[in-house]
């Protein structure tokens, strides 16, 4: 009998990574994302007065949404193949991690299409570089939300509905709740509590960091509480830590979900 080859730890991860990249490149979501990125990148230089602010708007609405959709798409792409995949001598978390790494790589590359014209045209590259890095983090966060939604749902359509609901909640729902809560007298006595809620929302953290770093908005809030002052001063650092924390939490929970399928 032939001796069985024992795969190295990284071989399955590499296999999933390459397969995901192949699959994503032929995905319509990805192709549309690239096309809009090119158009958006050129438009940010040609028509917008401040290309950074224009890209910020694209990142908030368009990058986050497409990362989400690609995440769900990736999770559900081979749902009927799961019995075959999960019978392979590879931990289920390796598939998840491979997909996440592949999506991250894809966005790191595709976002260059959006940023490249601004990099070429703008003399101030440092804020743009920072925005590129944080937009990439935002895309990685929403890709992990999409993966989680795709694996937690029973069907693709359920996954899409769940993912878009989370996106809308983070985009507007969370702020509305915070705004409503701010009217509550008890919360007014603890403004840091209100602020902490906002800080936990990756989209708000991204928005605050980007707005304050790009626009140099006078930080009226900064003088109000110590936490607000700290946040304004360290908005980039905070988002830089918050996004990976959320990503780790989401991937860990999704990996648990995959293991629970055995029961």
């Amino acid at each position: 009998m032939t001796t069985l080859a024992v795969p190295s730890t990284l071989a399955p991860l590499r296999a999933v990574l390459l397969r995901e990249i192949r699959g994503a490149v032929s995905s319509r979501y990805f192709q549309v994302f690239c096309a809009i990125s090119v158009i958006g990148g050129v438009a940010s230089v040609a028509f917008a007065g401040d290309s950074g602010l224009f890209i910020l708007q694209l990142a908030l609405y368009f990058v986050s949404l497409f990362a989400l959709l690609l995440g769900v798409n990736s999770a559900r792409a081979e749902s009927e193949e799961w019995p075959l995949l999960f019978a392979q001598p590879v931990p289920r978390s390796a598939y998840l991690l491979g997909k996440f790494l592949a999506l991250s790589l894809i966005f790191a590359s595709a976002l260059l299409l959006l940023f490249l014209p601004a990099f070429v045209a703008s003399p101030a590259t440092a804020p743009l570089l920072s925005l590129y890095f944080h937009t990439f983090e935002l895309a990685a966060f929403f890709a992990s939300v999409g993966l989680a939604a795709g694996y937690f749902a029973r069907e693709r359509i359920q996954g899409l509905i769940l993912a878009v609901t989370v996106w809308l909640f983070l985009l507007v729902g969370f702020d509305l709740i915070a705004l409503f809560g701010a009217r509550w007298s008890t919360l007014q006595e603890f403004p840091d509590g209100w602020l902490a809620l906002l800080m936990l929302n990756p989209l708000d953290a991204f928005r605050v960091h980007a707005l304050f770093s790009m626009e140099q908005i006078p930080a009226e809030l900064a003088g109000k509480t110590a936490l607000a002052a700290w946040w304004i001063d360290h908005a980039g650092l905070w988002f830089g830590l918050l996004a990976p924390a959320w990503i780790s939490l989401l991937l860990w929970n999704t990996a648990r979900r995959l293991r629970q399928w055995e029961d």
Binding site: M1, A15, L84, A87
Partner: protein, 273 residues
């Protein structure tokens, strides 16, 4: 070798496996037959590490599929009932992916393309393949791993008679190479004379062992069959027919002649399904 001991699995109140035990040894093709809902597919999923039993143990080549899952899975290859693949990837990409997952050489992929005659479809996307082609790709993946234990859940359902005969020939050869081959099916007549053992599964247990050289043609309507018809092999009376079978393995014969005869029998039987 496969050793299942006292497997129990329930989904809510529905008990699917109720103390199922059996062994399948190397060099033999073992059939796990039974009516729909008997627990055959659940058993094979437990053995493949896809489902955790609530009680009992399952070992693949001496490795516990729950406690030593990854090492045990290295020793097995599994073909699901209706194999599906990433629709945007080609046959070649899919085969290469599974080869990479197991750390296998690319030459294995080429061998499998030839064995399953998929070379001309190597660049075709899985989403464009017919059911039969997908089964052949599934067969290629099963054999790709060169694993000592092969688990097949209702194989060949979408294959034409010629390829079903070919599948049996390939599996017979794998058995003769020392592989442990476990096949679940409710179309038992197709495997008449090919298998070395046949275990009748009913209501989550192994009821008894059947004579693998003389299996009935139809098992589907077994639950509804009127008792005492006394006829064997006709449509709809599979269960009664099974009840009349001897439960020994005396007829086991691995002569090449039997295999040729068995292959011809199965091709002749196939249209009767």
């Amino acid at each position: 070798m496969i050793a299942a001991t006292d497997l129990f699995k329930a989904y809510g109140r529905k008990e699917v496996l109720r103390g199922l035990s059996f062994t399948a040894v190397a060099g033999e093709i073992t059939l796990l037959v039974g009516p729909n809902g008997a627990g055959k597919s659940t058993t094979i999923k437990v053995l493949a590490g896809l489902i955790r039993p609530q009680n009992g143990t399952a070992q693949i080549n001496g490795l516990d599929i729950v406690a030593q899952k990854i090492p045990a899975q290295r020793s097995l290859a599994y073909l699901p009932q209706s194999p599906s693949f990433h629709p945007r990837l080609t046959c070649l990409e899919i085969l290469r992916f599974y080869a990479q997952l197991r750390g296998l050489a690319r030459s294995r992929v080429e061998e499998m393309l030839d064995l399953t005659e998929l070379r001309e479809f190597a660049r075709v996307r899985a989403g464009q393949l017919s059911g039969g082609m997908r089964q052949r790709l599934g067969l290629a993946l099963l054999l790709l791993a060169d694993a000592p234990v092969l688990l097949l859940d209702e194989p060949g359902l979408s294959l034409d008679p010629g390829w079903r005969a070919r599948l049996q020939k390939i599996l017979r050869a794998e058995g003769d190479r020392g592989r442990t081959v476990l096949i679940t099916t409710h179309l038992i007549a197709e495997w008449n004379g090919v298998a070395d053992r046949c275990l009748l599964c009913r209501e989550g247990r192994i009821e008894r062992e059947l004579d693998p050289t003389d299996l009935p043609h139809d098992f589907d309507a077994s639950e509804d069959s009127a008792p005492g018809s006394g006829r064997r092999g006709g449509p709809g009376d599979g269960d009664l027919a099974i009840a009349n079978f001897p439960t020994n393995r005396a007829a086991k014969d691995k002569s090449p002649l039997r295999r040729v005869a068995a292959t011809s029998t199965r091709v002749a039987c196939a249209p009767q399904r």
